[in-house]
């Protein structure tokens, strides 16, 4: 057997789940090789140490303490409560954000409204409200008092009004 073969075999023995006995003829062949090859002998020492140390970390299979099941159950109950709570929490967050968005939208609309109103000169605003209130004499007065409104435009608008509403 070459060193390569020997090392392959040794690695297998070291890993085997069974007790690491190296049997009969193989053992003799290995011993013969090792006595002539210090490098492989050193390799076996390394494997032996690795094997013994790794095996030392094994713990026998045991039953867990009965209290473990109660602990797991309690944790699962907590988890179920948490996921239920998080559902309502999510629903509440959603409702709250909808309300905030609606309020912001309302404020924006009100702002736009105020802005537009402020852009209209006072006399024109009064004229518009006089028209809306069907107070045509007041509207007429404002038309002739104001400078910015064109007489023709307003008069044609008045003429378009149905007669009975005057």
């Amino acid at each position: 057997m070459t060193c390569r073969d020997i090392r392959k075999r040794m690695a297998m023995w070291a890993r085997a789940a069974s007790p690491g006995e190296i049997a009969g003829a193989e053992r003799e062949a290995l011993a013969a090789h090792l006595s002539a090859c210090p490098a492989c002998a050193e390799e076996l020492r390394l494997l032996a140490l690795k094997r013994i140390l790794l095996r030392a970390t094994r713990v026998p299979e045991v039953d867990p303490a009965p209290s473990l099941y109660a602990r797991v159950s309690a944790r699962l109950r907590q988890e179920r409560a948490r996921s239920l709570f998080s559902f309502w929490e999510a629903a509440r967050t959603f409702a709250a954000s909808v309300a905030v968005v609606a309020m912001l939208l309302l404020m924006l609309l009100a702002g736009v409204n105020i802005y537009i109103h402020q852009q209209i000169p006072v006399e024109r605003r009064d004229f518009i409200s006089a028209l809306m209130e069907r107070n045509f004499s007041e509207a007429e007065r404002l038309v002739f008092a104001g400078e910015e409104l064109s007489q023709e435009g307003v008069l044609s608008a008045l003429a378009a009004e149905p007669r009975e509403s005057r």
């Binding site: 890993r15 789940a17 032996a48 140490l49 030392a56 970390t57 867990p64 797991v72 159950s73």
Partner: protein, 222 residues
């Protein structure tokens, strides 16, 4: 749905039925699964951690994760294997969380551990190889040695070298490809062997200097 009978000849629901019932909101059904696999999961944690508290935490975490991911369990697959994967990954996460990698140094060994090591290495390799009895000093030494490895190296060394799992099995448990497992295994071996060689060399030079100091006596013995 298939049902088995237990030792008392009572009908017991199988895993799949219990999963279905849990998904439908039956809390009791999942508790049955916890009791069925609690011991197995506790002992999976024992492959990586000695302390009972740690193993209990891992068990608890495994069942919690399984409960949260229950909808991802594929019908027809083994529920036990599905649970094992979650458990081994929980162990791996725990190894990564507690990672305090330290260089392994012989100087960090306690006197008893040092003595155990010297005695062990004084034996012929064959004898050491076939040694069956365990010692607390070997455990402590092994823990120190493993603590100096990365979590990946530690995981593959324990599963492959100690527990005899195949690369395919480790790949399936961890969700790693075969080639990834092989690369990790190669690196892990190299890392562990490097430390072991250092131990062997350290022990050799220690025994050489001891021999030198005891020279007159050792000559007499021969």
């Amino acid at each position: 749905m298939a049902e088995k009978r237990n030792s008392a000849n009572e009908l017991v629901p199988d895993d799949e039925e219990l999963v279905e019932r849990s998904l439908a909101g039956d809390a009791e059904a999942f508790e049955v699964l916890v009791r069925r696999y609690g011991r197995a999961i506790y002992n999976v944690a024992g492959r990586f951690f000695r302390q009972p508290e740690m193993r209990e935490d891992i068990t608890q975490e495994t069942f919690l994760k399984a409960y949260q991911a229950l909808h991802t369990y594929r019908r027809g697959a083994s529920f036990e294997r599905w649970l094992m994967k979650i458990a081994v990954n929980a162990c791996y996460d725990a190894l990564r969380r507690m990672q305090r990698r330290r260089e392994f140094s012989l100087a960090d060994l306690a006197e008893d551990e040092q003595t155990w090591l010297e005695e062990a290495l004084a034996k012929p390799a064959f004898e050491l190889f076939e040694q069956q009895q365990q010692s607390e000093n070997a455990v402590a030494l092994a823990e120190k040695l493993l603590a100096s490895l990365s979590p990946e190296d530690r995981l593959v060394m324990l599963l492959y070298e100690r527990d005899g799992l195949s690369t395919a099995e480790i790949g399936e448990l961890m969700g790693w490809s075969r080639s990834k497992v092989k690369i990790r295994l190669f690196r892990a071996r190299r890392a562990l062997d490097k430390r072991l060689r250092r131990i062997l060399q350290g022990a050799q030079s220690a025994s050489a200097s001891k021999a030198k100091a005891d020279e007159p006596e050792s000559r007499q013995e021969r």
